[in-house]
Symmetry: C2
Subunit: 361 residues, 2 copies
């Protein structure tokens, strides 16, 4: 890994996400050495850039299909049911409407609201979702990205970086609640954050709780984790840190990149031990049914609320299959389901956890 | 049925949708006389009004669950997998933001854009979706509604109807394409329309094709049907009829209500013969798999694009279970599915039909 700050950040982030993708795919494949491997697709974007999608999907043989769609736990199956670990490194021109919309979220964006100009952008990121088959093993999502706006070719300083920021996070979505898993996940993430500033976890953990919330269900998607956006060298509205106080948060591009790498590197240690602990737990058809119902909520969040998914679906030329690989393979909706109605049941206990954000560490 | 025009339209529409709900539930239950019955829930809305949800859902016994989630065709199962036939009769006050948004779609709405007043509204409607179990039998959706805005209590004419309109339609979503079914469905709807004006079907059929379209997939949700909104006594931007020419479209509330009833009454004859023809067709696990993948598209449309669903999810106090009963019971997403890739396959033939709107009658 290049560490010299003389190399442009776009190249360093590209190199980082490519390496992280390889490491995460290897870590997930190692869980099931004799199982199917991830499928790797490299795609080119006509408007500029490329992506590498690595996807785990069960080969759709009829007999496999029948069992994967709700069969009993005695059927031998893969550890993972659906996973996507994708990177994309793209560039192009933001149209005026896109610039205007982005300005709302990113205060550092140089922008004259009356201007009808486009602005060159660059984005490099990794985005991943893992849906394990065992209902006791939680779904996980993580995403780390770097965004840059540069001066137009017809400007006095073509290509000059006018604004940049990092965004990302990671969150866990169990179907059955194990406090030990939630604590391990948050502890691992918090330790990664704390090494780069005392205000990072305490700022980004509640942001995650706010973001991954389904108002129409009155419940969180899962037990949270980390969420941040618009992280640059400026004062950040979500981080109550004294300006320039490096013990509270990083203030330079170099230091923020180091934090992002620490968070990305924490993904495997935050999640793999949880999977190893849960993937061999026996489960019943009823528990599988509950998992499929919970996945319905996951789909509701991603299609109704998730900004990344919505932005992707509306983007002309977007690679739809890479965006919607986040959706689980098999999903179930029940009308007025009775599962979870009993607060003493394992299903009811999960619902109680999702109703109110908690501190885990 | 009251037919006297001295009875307020809100009462007549309420009576109509209650009767239509009963007729449709009876018609669907008659398909499977020994099968489970629809479950009926009446709910009251705190803010004003009530609804009756009638829902068909397979009792979630573990063994039933396992088979319904993708089992072989030899498993005995119900004809319908999931259906909801719901009515709602609600009233309340539209907040200023709601009035403003509604004004965009409904030109007849009396509204001063600078006003911060709320407006009393009334809405009565029926909304239904049927997802049969057999992949050869198409999913259907229909919806008919009447909307009224009345003068505020503190006005000179409290309760006076300031604006009213009807909206609705019906559309068919097959997993396997049978031209005969598409023609029967459209022919039945067109006949119902034609008795009330020569420009109705030709105006509302293309509107349906436009509305039920997934831009991110570049395909229609199904083979279309009828879609209309904002239908009142004024000139309508979507109906190219000479003003007052009653052979082309109805121009009075009475005559428009007669058209809406004709369209609603056409639902059973448009759909039941198609079901009767397809529900006994043998099917393979692979065909079931394709049906579940197609249902994923249905979910994508309803959660990403459908205005009624989005409006419902954002409405405080909305009955979420009645809104999301439109979603299928079991759904599947495949990454880069190979199904449908061969244009000569039955799956590929459906995709070709969905790529380009056609005239059916």
């Amino acid at each position: 890994m290049a560490s010299s700050s003389s190399v442009p950040m776009r190249e360093r982030m590209t190199e980082y996400v490519i390496g992280l993708q390889d490491a995460i795919v290897a870590g997930l494949e190692a869980l099931d050495p004799n199982g199917p491997k991830f499928k790797r697709d490299r795609w080119e974007r006509t408007e500029g850039g490329f992506g590498i999608s690595t996807v785990f999907a069960v080969p759709p043989e009829p007999e496999h299909f029948a069992s994967s769609a709700g069969g009993p736990s005695t059927t031998p199956t893969s550890v993972i049911e659906r996973a996507g670990v994708n990177i994309s490194v793209i560039h192009g021109n933001l149209p005026p409407a896109g610039v205007k919309q982005m300005r709302v979220e990113h205060a550092s964006l140089p922008y004259d609201p009356n201007s009808e100009t486009t602005l060159p952008f660059f984005a490099a990121g990794i985005s991943l979702i893992v849906h394990p088959r065992n209902p006791h093993a939680p779904t996980v999502h993580a995403n780390y990205r770097y965004f840059e706006i540069t001066a137009r070719k017809d400007s006095e300083t073509p290509g000059k970086v006018l604004a940049w920021w990092f965004g990302g996070g990671s969150d866990l979505t169990p179907s059955y609640f194990y406090e030990k898993d939630a604590v391990h996940f948050h502890r691992t993430i918090k330790d990664a954050c704390d090494a780069h500033g005392s205000k990072l976890y305490s700022s980004f953990k509640p942001w995650c709780d706010e973001y991954f919330y389904l108002p129409h269900r009155g419940e969180a998607r899962g037990i949270g984790g980390l969420f941040f956006d618009d992280f640059c060298a400026d004062v950040h509205k979500r981080i109550p840190a004294a300006e320039g106080e490096t013990s509270e948060r990083p203030w330079t591009q170099e230091a923020i990149f180091a934090f992002v790498r620490a968070a990305g590197d924490a993904f495997l240690p935050s999640y793999i031990p949880v999977l190893q602990c849960r993937i061999h737990t026996p489960y019943t058809p009823s528990q599988r049914r509950w998992q499929l119902v919970r996945r319905g909520r996951y789909v509701e969040f991603n299609l109704v609320y998730d900004r990344g998914t919505k932005f992707g679906l509306m983007t002309p030329g977007a690679r739809i299959e890479s965006i919607l690989v986040s959706l689980p393979e098999t999903v179930r909706w029940e009308y007025m389901t009775d599962m979870g109605a009993d607060p003493e049941s394992d299903e009811g206990k999960l619902l109680a956890v999702l109703k109110k954000a908690r501190e885990w560490v």
